[in-house]
Symmetry: C2
Subunit: 307 residues, 2 copies
């Protein structure tokens, strides 16, 4: 486990012939009703409590993981979808991360955490490091990597980087997000030239210098939205050796052609995420088969567009 | 509870004659050993498991809340300090929030969450809104407000603002953080004039327009670090009617004089947070008395400097 994260990710991509990462964004109002029915507490109840909700999303994620495992390199559980269910939700997240690891998938905790000093250390400990002063079962979520928000600057990101170095883990730092509002702040032009995102790109390159693996990529990667396809090539040039995590494929509108510029000539260096277009490809009892087919289709599309 | 958050906060400040918010940042290696000993599972163990750790930090926070309640308007639990302990940690956070509310304190969840679309909705639901499709005990953490990271732009913040409007809750949006690295990104000069933080300040003013209460302040506030005291007056001018949450007092170096420019002529419109200088004022069995004294001293210092 102390192997370089970028090397482990590269091996997984080559091993599966897949640059696909499935986003696990389970929502109570989107998962198949057959699953909800199993966990509905009583006749006549319109909704369920936190424990039942958490059990339902955990079961749904388990089905998705098993279904997509042959076609994908990694999964990306979205923390926001588990937190509303309190302690049972966090337990469901933990089980989901473990189940994905047991299925041979890399786990990227989509936490988008960001803070300073001791707080940044604690967030890192929760997801990729080890809490101080504890004995026993120390690997909280067992994630291989996590997403972080760089608004705080270097001293906010360094605690995470230290744990990447110490435990063979990885980061994906937000550089350019896939939403329309991203332009309001991230695309602002700086008086010294370039945009806020460009500056972030330079910072990510610096932060990752000491964690470059045998693959030529660093364990400190970047989130680059796939929805602005014209920008991807520019970011690739600015960040050689930086692994890209590209959200925005499928439901958000990006295609295999849109993300082609993110890959190197071997089809490596980038992982493309999709969530809704895969996990909600079917919404009845055959949801897992539908997800498996959608994941395999995406795998083939990306592999062919990049090779 | 559907009253305007800024009005509730203003009433709390006037009622307590206090602009103090105590940061609840419990750390296993900093809390008094008398508390840890109580929760140590077995003879000879060097550390404890997650459940014991969570019980220890919950007990510590309970002692702090009771001790500081007479002198402070609000508490600010730091999510990062609870997450490393998994489900028991989240349970401890929930109990801590409820205990603070029962003690008559406003609760600001220092979550610094940020995401887009459905994920932003889910984070908001976890802390200040209501998860969809659930019945029963819907108020997860019972927070009155939370901190958010605005890197995503308007569509990342809007889901939180909707819940503020719907449930009488508040936000504090990161505009300028208190760490040295803040300058790397937040202080960058834009080609159109001003800095990244200045632009964020303008966005916060816009986001809060519809949630201004009778106090003249909006429920959409701003985090402005107290450590760069020369900048506070400028932010005050840029953001009239925006409640400030100022970290950096005490252990991080800022004094009552440094933050004076954040208040209006009535001593209102800002809440100053301190954590380590209060919660770790004593580190033995009398830690609560030491925290009470430190909180009261800070209350008097701020009240006198702003009146």
């Amino acid at each position: 486990m102390s192997e370089n994260f970028a090397d482990r990710l590269t091996a997984a991509i080559i091993g599966k012939s897949s640059q696909v990462c499935v986003g696990l964004d389970p929502r109570l109002d989107s998962i198949p009703s057959v699953i909800l029915e199993e966990h509905r507490p009583a006749e006549g109840a319109n909704g369920c409590g936190r424990s039942e909700a958490a059990a339902a999303i955990e079961q749904f994620c388990a089905g998705i993981i098993e279904a997509v495992a042959p076609s994908v390199a990694a999964v990306k559980p979205q923390l926001a979808c588990f937190e509303p269910y309190g302690p049972p939700g966090i337990r469901a997240l933990r089980h989901t991360c473990r189940r994905a690891a047991e299925a041979g998938l890399l786990v990227i905790a989509d936490a988008k955490r960001g803070d300073i000093g001791i707080s940044a250390e604690s967030y890192s400990a929760a997801f990729i490091g080890r809490p101080r002063g504890l004995e026993g079962d120390l690997d909280n979520f067992g994630a291989d990597a996590m997403t972080v928000n760089p608004l705080f600057g270097s001293d906010g990101v360094e605690p995470f980087i230290r744990d990447c170095a110490g435990y063979g883990k990885g980061l994906f730092v937000l550089v350019r997000t896939s939403n329309p509002g991203a332009s309001e702040l991230q695309a602002l032009e700086l008086s010294g030239g370039g945009t806020v995102s460009d500056r972030l790109a330079g910072m990510v390159v610096d932060w990752g210098r000491d964690l470059v693996g045998e693959s030529g990529y660093s364990s400190i990667g970047a989130v680059v939205g796939a929805t602005d396809s014209s920008a991807i090539g520019g970011f690739r040039e600015m960040m050689p050796g930086v692994f890209f995590l590209l959200p925005g494929y499928g439901a958000q509108g990006a295609s295999a052609g849109d993300v082609a510029a993110a890959f190197d000539s071997d089809g490596l260096g980038a992982l493309v995420t999709a969530s809704r277009s895969i996990i909600y490809a079917g919404n009845d009892a055959s949801y897992a088969e539908a997800a498996a087919a959608a994941a395999e289709r995406m795998r083939v599309e990306l592999w062919e567009a990049s090779h």
